[in-house]
Symmetry: C2
Subunit: 78 residues, 2 copies
């Protein structure tokens, strides 16, 4: 069974680079990658925060948030 | 031909988690992953800095540094 991976972003340039280079580098054979744009899916900000996401872009793997560089703080997306 | 990926770390808990969960999630069919411990391989700190690494853990993909959370600043590893 594949592991769920969620990449949260906000469409910023830092986010786009991280999506293209890091999120898309994940092994598709082992991970089901979901891309969530918190700028347009604000209803999922609380979910992201619950996983420990403090800024975007961030990748949540095994329920743990890995912040990749810094695009925007999550407070700015509420 | 596989893309070179370099994961720089310093053995810290944040580094180990990022290595196990993010670096090891990369698609081995597309990436040749090299793991570099800058605490023990200080001769490679300059190389990391040249790729834009400012803190560890960091993943360099396509020559660009992606800092994953924050374990230690690179200045502390010199």
């Amino acid at each position: 069974m594949k592991t769920k991976a969620i990449f949260y972003h906000a469409g910023c340039p830092v986010c786009v680079a991280a999506e293209q280079n890091v999120a898309n580098a994940l092994d598709a054979g082992r991970f089901n990658l979901e891309i969530v744009h918190l700028g347009t899916e604000k209803s999922r900000v609380a979910e992201a925060e619950g996983s420990g996401v403090k800024s975007v872009p961030a990748l949540v793997l095994h329920g743990v948030a890995y912040h990749i560089n810094f695009g925007a703080g999550i407070e700015a997306l509420k």
